[in-house]
């Protein structure tokens, strides 16, 4: 799975996710990536999120919207909201990660699997690409 979240100069957020799904899948199985609110979500008032991981758990938790809802209702900051939601996935036995971005330009990239290909570029040009924990 691949994904991107962006904040433009007009203050708008957007999120995108694309995947081949799970190796050896049957019966037209679909994971979280194309399910809005599970693997992909964006709302200017809270955050933009793109997920990657064991889809069934991300769907059952509704991860992408859960992160935004924690910010909206619980007034949690992005990083805390993302970590709390990912902890919920782990409690159920799922693994994976997500990238998140809010309208102040704050970034979060938590994951509880062994690694996650991830990276960012900020307004000042600061950029980083990471693979392992």
């Amino acid at each position: 799975t691949v994904g991107a979240v962006a904040l433009d100069q007009y203050g708008n957020l957007a999120a995108a996710t694309s995947t081949g799904g799970m190796t050896n899948k049957r019966y037209g199985r679909v994971g979280d990536a194309p399910i809005i609110g599970a693997g992909t979500y964006a709302d200017n008032q809270t955050c933009a999120v793109s997920c990657t991981g064991w889809g069934e758990y991300f769907i059952r938790v509704g991860v992408a919207r859960d992160v935004a809802a924690r910010m909206e209702y619980g007034r949690q900051p992005l990083a805390a909201a993302a970590q709390a939601t990912l902890d919920k996935v782990a409690q159920l036995g799922g693994d994976g990660g997500l990238i998140g971005l809010d309208r102040q330009g704050n970034i979060t990239m938590p994951f509880n699997s062994e690694g996650m290909y991830r990276g960012y570029i900020k307004a000042n040009g600061q950029t980083e690409v990471l693979i392992y924990k």
Partner: protein
């Protein structure tokens, strides 16, 4: 300006042990290329929506990632692709699932968002919609990579020796579950007597 772009290329058993310096360099280069594509859009005053689509298209076209070219294989040896996009300003969203001939599924997802009144289209219907909207259509073989095909062979081989789970077991009559007795007594763990965890997945077999 607070223009910012964040990307991911998937999570999983990515450890130093199963990585080579060449592979690590290739992934780092591909991620940087994807970052540059989206960031250039933002620097030129483009929208966040244009930036995320441009970024994901680069990763869909790279055979390294499990999306577009280089996607994993289904049990039947096909590539079924899913994608979604959402606009934070309008809360409009679009998604496709199970498409097999659309070169860039993320662009199909965006077409669903902007050129239909739906949110999610799947399978051959989604492919027909993509064709009608002029998206690039390719042969299913376009997505093939040897590495992903070998991953499928490995999963199939490991499946051969595994105990068939519920999904594989042919249907046969099983004795009806005992009718729970009315009086429920709580065990110390707080679970009602006779409660059993639903066997959703066989431990350790995630793929398939």
């Amino acid at each position: 300006s607070r223009i910012t772009l964040v990307i991911h290329g998937g999570a999983g058993t990515i450890t130093r042990q199963n990585m080579t310096p060449e592979k690590e360099r290739a992934y780092t280069e591909a991620l940087n290329q994807a970052l540059q594509a989206g960031y250039t859009v933002l620097q030129r005053g483009g929208t966040a929506l244009d930036a995320v689509e441009a970024t994901v298209r680069v990763m869909e076209d790279s055979p390294l990632f499990n999306a577009g070219k280089g996607a994993v294989f289904t049990h039947d040896g096909r590539n079924e692709l899913d994608a979604a996009v959402m606009d934070g300003q309008t809360l409009k969203a679009g998604a496709v699932a199970g498409v097999t001939v659309v070169r860039n599924p993320i662009s199909a997802a965006r077409a669903v968002m902007e050129k239909s009144e739906h949110v999610l289209l799947t399978g051959t219907g989604a492919e027909q919609f993509a064709r009608e909207k002029g998206l690039t259509i390719v042969e299913p073989g376009y997505f093939y990579t040897e590495a992903r095909y070998q991953q499928l062979q490995k999963a199939l081989a490991s499946e051969k020796g595994a105990v068939p789970d519920q999904l594989n077991t042919p249907t046969k009559t099983t004795p009806a579950a005992p009718v729970p007795t009315k009086t429920k007594t709580k065990t110390k763990a707080g679970k009602p007597q006779g409660y059993a965890e639903p066997p959703i997945f066989t431990e350790g077999r995630k793929y398939g």
